[in-house]
Amino acid sequence: MSYNCVVLIKQVPDTKRITGQAMNEDGTVNRAALPAIFNPEDLNALEMAIQIKDKFGGKVTVVTMGLPAAGRVLRESLFRGADDGVLVTDRRAAASDTLATSYILSCAVKKFNPDIVLCGRQAIDGDTAQVGPQCAEKLGMGQVTCVEELIDLKGKSVTARRATGHGWQEVRCKLPALLTVVDTANEPRVSGGKRLMKYKNARTPAEVAVETKAANAGADETTLKKLTEEACNKLKAKGLLIKQWDLDMIEADLKWCGRDGSPTKVHRIQSVVLTAKESKSVDPGEDGIRSMIRELIVDKTIA
C-alpha cells in the first residue's frame, strides 16, 4: 500500500545568529536582517516522508504558509525529493497566532486528503510546538508527537516510537494521522544533484512577479502583469511553476484567520539584556582560584 504524505514546513529566521543589528529600537526583531533558513526539525519530517515514499510508494507534498520569499524552502524540498509544493500566502493571514495558523494550514492540507501529515516538533522562531497538534485537531486526525522513529506502516495504521520526556513509548495510531518529528529521528539527506538541476528554476508566481519587476525596471503595471503571466505559463509548461494559494482558494473562513482569528495578542515585547549584578575578574593562577574557592566556602555556596 502506498501513502500520500503532506509535510508542513516553515521558513524561519536563524535565531542562532541574532545579533544587535537584528533588533529594532523598540525591542522587536527585525526579521529582514536575519538569514532565513528551513526550520531544522521540518527537514527531519521531510526526510521521514521521503523515506516512506521510498519504501512504500506514494507521494510527498510540502505545504508552507508565509511570505512570497518562502518559495525557497519549497524549492529546497523539491531538491531533496518532494514531488509537489504549495505556498499559502495572503496578506489577510498576517498576524496569525498558532490557532489561526493551524486553521489555515489545515484548510490547505484538506485539499490533498493525505494519509499522513508530518511536521517538525517545533519551529526555532517560536518554539511553541503547538501548530502540529492544533492541525491534527482541526483535521480530526490522531496525533503522535515527538516521533523518534517510524517503526512500521501497515494498512491503515502507523507504528512509531515517541519520546515521552521520561523514556519512550511505542504506539500504533490509526490513519490518517499527524506526526511531529524530532531532530534525532534521522539524518536529512542533502539535495540530489539531478533534482537540483531539474528544479533550480522552479518558482512560485509571487517570485516570478518580483523577478519580472526587477528585470523590467520602469515598465508599467499592465506590461509587468502580462510579462509575469507569460513567464508563469512558460514555467507551468515545464512543470516548474510552484502552486501558490490564497485564503479564498483553500476556502478558509476569514473569521478564523489572521488577527481576527487569533485570540492571543502581544501585550509587550522586551529585548533581553542579561548581566550579572556584581562581577569580578579572577586571576587564573593558583592563588586567584584558591581565594575564589575560599570566598565561596565562606558564603556557604560550597558546602
Binding site: 490522531g142 515521552t164 550579572a276 575578574s281
Partner: protein, 342 residues
C-alpha cells in the same frame, strides 16, 4: 470557546503517570494559587487517570480548593484524544478563566489539542505569569485582570508578554523548573468532585504497545551545584575535567547543546532552552561561549563562574566570577583548591 468569565476559577492540570504526580503540576499550583488570590477566585485542579482517587487529597494539601477528578480505566495511560475530551467537557461545564499546564512533553501534546478544540488562545512555555491590565490601542478599551503570559521567543532573544482578552479560557503551558514547589499542608480542606466519564475504547485512535520509563540519568533541577561544559572543552576525553570538578564539589555535570551534539556527554545533561532550566546555588560554565538559548536555561543561578579563554565570550557578562584563561589549567586548579579545604 467560552466567553470572558470573571468569576471563573484558575485551573491547573495535575499531570500524573502510573499514579505518581509530576513535579511540574505541583510547582505550577503555587503560582496558580497566587493568581487565584489576586483574582479572588478558587484554585481548581484537574486530575485525570485510573485508580488515582487518593491523589485528590494530596492535591488539596498542595493548595487545591477544588479537585476535578476523572477516574476511568480508559484513562489509565495518557492519550491525547481521551484526555482532551474529558478536559474539553470540563472547561465547557465549569468555565474556568485560566487553564495552566506544565510544559512537559505531555502538557505540550495535550494543551494545544484542547485549545484548538475550544478555539481558545494558548501561549507555550511561559517562564512567568502575572495579572495585569491591557489597553487595546491608544483609545481602546482597558481590559483589567488579564493573565500576562510571559515567555522567551526568537530563541530567547526577546521576552514577549502575551494576553488573551476575549476568547477564554486564558491558556498557557509553563516551563518546568521555573516555579517553586509548594509545601504541603496536611490540615488543608478542599472539595473533590468526581466526574462522570463517558469513553469508548474504539473512539481512541491510539494504542500503546510498549512503554519504557527511563528517568533522566541526572537530576539537574535538584542539584545545588552544576558544572557545565561547552564545545570549548574540546573532546569527550577532556570532558572528564567537567565530571571531576562536579564530583569534587558534589555537583552534577551539565552541558550545552553544542557539547551534546559533539557527543561529549548524554542529552539528559543539557541545560538551556531546549534542555533543562536550572537555578542552582552555583553554576560553573566551562568552555561555554554563552548562546542566548543556553543563557535562558541558567541565568537565574545564584552564583555563576565562567571560565573561558575568549575575553569576548557572552557568558562572561552573566558571570559573578570571570576567569579568563585555559580551562585545562584552571579546572585542575579549582579541583585542587576544593580538595585542599577538606
Amino acid at each position: 470557546m467560552i466567553g470572558v468569565n470573571r468569576n471563573g476559577q484558575v485551573w491547573v492540570f495535575a499531570e500524573q503517570h502510573h499514579g505518581k504526580l509530576e513535579d511540574t503540576g505541583l510547582e505550577l499550583m503555587s503560582k496558580a494559587k497566587e493568581l487565584a488570590k489576586t483574582l479572588n477566585v478558587q484554585l481548581g485542579v484537574v486530575l485525570v487517570g485510573s485508580n488515582i482517587k487518593t491523589l485528590g487529597q494530596t492535591l488539596v494539601r498542595y493548595g487545591a480548593d477544588v479537585v476535578y477528578l476523572a477516574d476511568h480505566p480508559l484513562l489509565e495511560h495518557y492519550q491525547t484524544n481521551s484526555y482532551t475530551k474529558v478536559i474539553f467537557d470540563l472547561i465547557h461545564k465549569y468555565e474556568p478563566q485560566i487553564c495552566l499546564f506544565g510544559a512537559t512533553v505531555t502538557g505540550r501534546d495535550l494543551a494545544p489539542r484542547i485549545a484548538s478544540a475550544t478555539k481558545a488562545g494558548l501561549t507555550a512555555d511561559c517562564t512567568d505569569l502575572q495579572i495585569g491590565e491591557h489597553q487595546a490601542g491608544k483609545d481602546g478599551p482597558v481590559h483589567k485582570n488579564l493573565l500576562f503570559q510571559v515567555r522567551p521567543a526568537f530563541g530567547g532573544n526577546i521576552i514577549a508578554t502575551i494576553i488573551n482578552y476575549d476568547r477564554w479560557p486564558q491558556m498557557a503551558t509553563v516551563r518546568e523548573g521555573v516555579m517553586a514547589m509548594p509545601v504541603p499542608d496536611t490540615s488543608r480542606k478542599g472539595e473533590i468532585i468526581e466526574i462522570q466519564v463517558h469513553l469508548k475504547a474504539d473512539e481512541l485512535p491510539l494504542e500503546i504497545i510498549k512503554e519504557h520509563r527511563q528517568d533522566k540519568k541526572v537530576n539537574l533541577k535538584a542539584s545545588r551545584i552544576i558544572v557545565a561544559g561547552g564545545a570549548g572543552v574540546g573532546s569527550k576525553e577532556n570532558f572528564r575535567l567537567v565530571w571531576d570538578l562536579a564530583n569534587a564539589l558534589g555537583g552534577a555535570p551539565g552541558a550545552t547543546r553544542a557539547a551534546i551534539d559533539l557527543g561529549f556527554i548524554d542529552r539528559d545533561h543539557q541545560v538551556g532552552q531546549t534542555g533543562t532550566t536550572v537555578r542552582p546555588s552555583l553554576y560553573i560554565a566551562v568552555g561555554i561561549s554563552g548562546a542566548i538559548q543556553h543563557q535562558a536555561g541558567m541565568q537565574d543561578s545564584a552564583k555563576i563562574i565562567a571560565i573561558n579563554n575568549d575575553p569576548e565570550a557572552p557568558i562572561l557578562s552573566l558571570a559573578h566570577y570571570k576567569i579568563i584563561g585555559d580551562l585545562n589549567d584552571v579546572v585542575p586548579r579549582m579541583i585542587k583548591a576544593v580538595k585542599e579545604r577538606a
